[in-house]
């Protein structure tokens, strides 16, 4: 008996607004993602990539359709139940980094553990381990304003990793970075996926998508095609 996919989307639609202003951003998305996969979602601007990511991240609910995560039908959960899912299983990385300003890297990384009720000591240790994984331990005491964009994004990844998530969701994580920093981030995500974390990433850059195992192409609110990625390696 083969294991059910970690994530299953069946006939997902999403309509924004009502009446004549209503706009259907997703028109029936079907998608399965296996545990441990490294997925790149591509497609033109406005094709529904972020909307899909928000649903996958349990931040938003579909207008219709079924979204199963770990065999739980998320679309019928309450707001707080979805918060608990995020807290327990999901990590987020955003295009704009979204770190708390005037708060040190270490404190930013500790934040998710606060909501898990970990002790101060446990929070500190886990946050330091997580910062070490992204190579930023020496920068633990710096605030976002004192860090470069690439460093900020790595702090954000450390924050997403600190609670040991099953899935890491990254919506255009390299959108604000130059190519060199972007490749560093991609390598980091690839390493994470190799360590067993399922990574879902939105990008519009072909070069970045090449790191993924699976590439999902979106067009006009539908999955156009799913292809195997190149699992690119970078020569040292």
């Amino acid at each position: 008996m083969s294991e059910a996919p970690l994530i299953q989307l069946e006939g997902i639609t999403k309509t924004f607004g009502t009446g004549p202003a209503a706009f259907q951003a997703l028109k029936g998305v079907d998608l399965s993602i296996e545990r441990g996969d490294f997925v790149a979602i591509m497609g033109p601007s406005g094709s529904g990539k972020s909307t899909t990511m928000n649903i996958l991240g349990c931040l938003d609910t579909p207008t219709s359709g079924i979204f199963r995560f770990r065999n739980v039908e998320v679309q019928s959960l309450s707001r707080d139940q979805r918060s608990l899912l995020r807290r327990r299983y999901l990590g987020f990385v955003f295009q704009g980094f979204n770190l708390l300003a005037r708060t040190t890297a270490l404190e930013n990384v500790e934040l998710p553990l606060l909501y898990r009720g970990e002790s101060k000591k446990a929070r500190r240790e886990a946050a330091e381990r997580s910062l070490d994984k992204v190579g930023l331990l020496p920068w633990a005491g710096h605030t976002p304003a004192e860090l470069s964009g690439g460093q900020q994004q790595r702090v954000a990844i450390a924050r997403a990793l600190v609670s040991d998530p099953d899935v890491l969701l990254a919506d255009e994580p390299t959108g604000n970075l130059d190519t060199e920093r972007s490749i560093e981030i991609m390598e980091l995500l690839r390493d994470l996926s190799r360590s067993g974390i399922t990574v879902l990433m939105v990008t519009h850059e072909e070069e970045m998508a090449e790191f993924a195992r699976t590439i999902v192409h979106f067009r006009d609110g539908l999955v156009q095609r799913v292809v195997e990625g190149k699992r690119r390696e970078v020569a040292e």
């Binding site: 707001r79 918060s83 995020r86 955003f94 979204n98 770190l99 909501y115 101060k120």
Partner: protein
């Protein structure tokens, strides 16, 4: 686990308040003023009450003061020694009754003059009014019976016209009576009923004052001290009956005298203090309401400013109630600071004002604690709506917020 969350939330609130120190202070001004006003007024009120009670104790407890009072513009007949003697003899329960008369007079000494009051009083009057002789001695029975020219001074007179170290044995002139100083009484601050400064007085035996100043055997008022196993009402009734009979007042006619119960003075003062406190409480309530609205306003601003932060917290799995708790804690901590500053301000104000208007400073822990708790409650009430708004934010919209 909940406690850990609360601790972290508390630290976060402190940090946010420190970040906007001036704004936080201005926001809590309404609460500071409200709390300071209430505590100051209650503290001064307590001082005032205590002061009056002390004065009343100075008049003696279980004491009536009886004086003639005009009815329909008619001049009432004065009391005399016979009335006092009758009260003392005929009403069971009366321990003693003592008359007194007083008149303005000028005291001369060392070439200085001083306008004061000369008051006739004997041992029974001293006892009923709890007048204490702190230097020298009281009037002897012989001096009282013979109306000798001896006097006991109020402390104010001593300060004003005596330069000698020892006033006892000195001779001074009051009006055209020269008298020997035999004693000095203690400071009594303001006695109720007398009207003039109780320390600015020259006491002489009643008979001396009647003979040399007022003439005749009339007295202006008398005090009645009764045994506390009798009720005030029963003694008062007997007093009224006896005096009406002696003054031949027909049935249906009003009393041409007044009986003041020192306990009633106490009640009156309590009423005044109570009214004062009620007025201040209303003012404070308005100030606190305005302060509360200020808190609500600034918390709404804070929620808007920190929308992105709220989005991040929600995205990483904060529950609605956890976000609500965070902002509620911030509002409560802010108000508690306001309350604390108000308490400190009230402390300084009460001490300063009390000494300025010559009242004792009586710290009241209850009103301080209640004010503090009330401040915290203000934070909860006025912080709830903004905190609720924060907790209702949609994480996606909040993250997109600029």
């Amino acid at each position: 686990m909940r406690l850990r969350m609360l601790g972290a939330t508390f630290l976060l609130a402190l940090r946010e308040i420190r970040r906007h120190l001036l704004r936080s202070f201005l926001t809590t001004l309404g609460i500071i003023i409200g709390v300071a006003a209430v505590i100051t007024m209650v503290t001064l009120g307590r001082g005032l009450t205590a002061n009056v009670q002390e004065d009343i104790a100075g008049l003696g407890s279980n004491v009536f003061i009886v004086f003639p009072e005009s009815v329909e513009e008619r001049q009432p007949a004065p009391f005399d020694d016979m009335d006092v003697a009758a009260v003392e003899r005929q009403i069971p329960g009366v321990v003693n009754a003592a008359g007194s008369s007083q008149t303005p007079a000028v005291a001369f000494h060392n070439g200085q003059d001083w306008s004061t009051t000369v008051q006739g009083a004997d041992a029974a009057f001293f006892a009923a009014q709890s007048i204490e002789v702190v230097e020298g001695r009281g009037f002897s029975q012989r001096e009282s019976e013979r109306g000798e020219s001896v006097c006991i001074l109020g402390p104010k007179i001593v300060d004003e016209i005596f330069v000698e170290d020892a006033v006892l044995g000195e001779t001074m002139r009051v009006g055209n009576v020269s008298c020997l100083v035999v004693g000095v009484i203690d400071e009594r601050s303001n006695a109720v009923g007398g009207g003039q400064d109780a320390d600015d007085v020259v006491l002489m035996p009643l008979k001396t004052v009647q003979r040399r100043f007022t003439g005749g055997t009339n007295i202006q008022f008398f005090v009645v001290k009764y045994d506390d196993s009798y009720t005030s009402a029963s003694i008062q009734q007997q007093l009224i009956d006896l005096l009406r009979e002696r003054r031949v007042i027909q049935e249906g006619e009003a009393n041409d005298f007044n009986i003041v119960d020192t306990a009633d003075i106490n009640d009156t003062v309590n009423n005044v203090t109570g009214t004062m406190t009620a007025v201040v409480t209303v003012i404070a309530a308005i100030s606190l309401l305005v302060g509360g609205i200020g808190i609500m306003n600034i918390m709404l601003v804070s929620v808007t400013e920190r929308t992105r932060e709220i989005g991040i917290r929600l995205a990483i799995g904060a529950l609605a109630k956890e976000v609500r708790l965070q902002f509620l804690t911030e509002a409560v901590v802010l108000c508690c600071f306001g309350g604390l500053i108000g308490i400190l301000l009230a402390f300084g104000l009460s001490i300063t004002l009390a000494s300025a208007i010559d009242l004792p400073f009586l710290f009241d822990p209850t009103v301080n604690i209640i004010s503090f708790l009330f401040s915290a409650a203000m934070g909860m009430i006025f912080g709830y709506y903004p905190a609720h708004q924060a907790s209702k934010l949609d994480p996606i919209d909040a993250l997109r917020h600029e």
